[in-house]
Symmetry: C2
Subunit: 254 residues, 2 copies
């Protein structure tokens, strides 16, 4: 047993994002430490993507394997969630573990990823939402949701999403395929859901900022296609706060 795929949920509030940054508290650092303690060998942890400071995950995926090829993970795979959760802080939880082929890569083998973004549309803020939901401060009408859903249709398909990428990102291939994108109400939360083969830096958060400008009537739903074609970050909306964002699910062909 050499390569294990972990499905992980975490509350990103107290972390500097996923990716290792020396000794700063990051999800990757916590997973590395917990794996070493749980398995008794130095481990290499590889994530499916990077998430920013304050962003959460309901189903992040990462592989863990011994650093030294002579080492082995001897904990039975069914016991790995419990073994790791004992060692992890209580804002990170391993939900599932699964044995994978050596050839599997948690980033290159992704078929699709789904993110959700939560918006609270009440004038009165909810203290339990403060690190978990964007406080929009005003009511979103059914008509507003309809307009956002019209706008969402223009995200679908294969496009170069330069307009929805933070300036300064060095990625050259900006083409991504969006499989689904929609907005729905769930009680006092308006939730944006988007599934794609991959995402550019801050892409979901800029989509949300743009949809909220559609809701406000500052951008027409039909303008989304023009904004995409223009490849100009300035035409899209603001980058919505990180803490409303959740990596919900990662799909692999396994």
């Amino acid at each position: 047993m050499s390569k294990i795929l972990l499905t992980i949920a975490y509350d990103g509030t107290n972390y500097n994002g996923y990716q290792l940054q020396n000794d700063k508290p990051t999800i990757a650092l916590m997973l590395n430490q917990a794996a070493r303690e749980a398995f008794g060998v130095e481990c290499k942890v590889t994530g499916c993507s990077r998430t920013d400071s304050g962003v959460h995950a309901l189903g992040f995926c990462a592989t863990v394997e011994p650093k030294n090829e002579n080492d082995k993970i001897t904990v039975p795979v069914s016991k790995i969630p419990i073994a790791m959760n004992i060692k992890l802080p209580d804002d990170i939880s391993v939900l599932e573990a699964k044995e994978m082929d050596d050839s599997f890569h948690p980033r290159y083998d992704v078929i699709s990823k789904e993110y959700i973004y939560k918006i609270h549309d009440s004038q009165v803020p909810n203290p339990f939402y403060r690190n978990y939901v964007l406080e929009y401060g005003r009511k979103i009408t059914d008509d507003g949701i309809e307009k956002m859903n019209e706008a969402c249709k223009h995200f679908l398909g294969t496009h170069r999403f330069d307009s929805f990428m933070s300036v300064g990102s060095k990625i050259e291939d900006t083409e991504r395929t969006v499989y689904s994108a929609y907005v729905k109400r769930n009680g006092d939360i308006v939730e944006f859901s988007v599934c794609a083969d991959g995402f550019l830096y801050n892409m979901v958060r800029i989509m949300v900022g743009t949809l909220l400008k559609v809701e406000m009537g500052k951008i027409k739903p039909t303008e989304i296609s023009k904004i995409i074609l223009a490849k100009d970050r300035n035409l899209a909306g603001f980058t919505a706060k990180p803490y409303g964002l959740y990596l919900k699910n990662v799909q692999y062909d396994t």
Copy 2:
């Protein structure tokens, strides 16, 4: 306009409970400071009860009034929630404000209070529940919920609840009337709900610890009546952690 009844929600995680304790961070301290800043006069804030460190509220009630009888609160009552929320930290939120007669008292005029207690019954902890729900670590069956509900029936009515009060509490009149008490499942959360004319110190948390001993089969549902009659704290269950507890609602005859 001299006496305002506020309905307040708060996340108790970062506070030393409700009650003022010099300069320690408490809900009462935050409300006092916010009222002074929002209304421009020194104010007296009186809560409906005390909640412990880590306990939350969905509908706590407190009155606010000028300390000096020559002062007045001049902010229109409909604007008070917004005026106070601007000054409050984002883990405390005023939901409603209502003008009351001078004779109204938020503690003495209570008809009933309702608390809920949330329990997560999965082997895998949920990182988003860590400060908000008790992690029970094992599945509660339908049969377990039925047994807890049988036990709940014995709480109903007027009893001296000494067995369900933390030792060291100096209250002399331990008689309380429980109007409703039940357990129900809500997704992956098992929720205990109890409504009474008042509660002794730690009463709800000891009820929960006792119900969990019923679920484990260590106490029979019918034994609850004997435990109440014995007036002996040692016979009831443990005091469940504070962070699963929420003051949900306070009822007044107004």
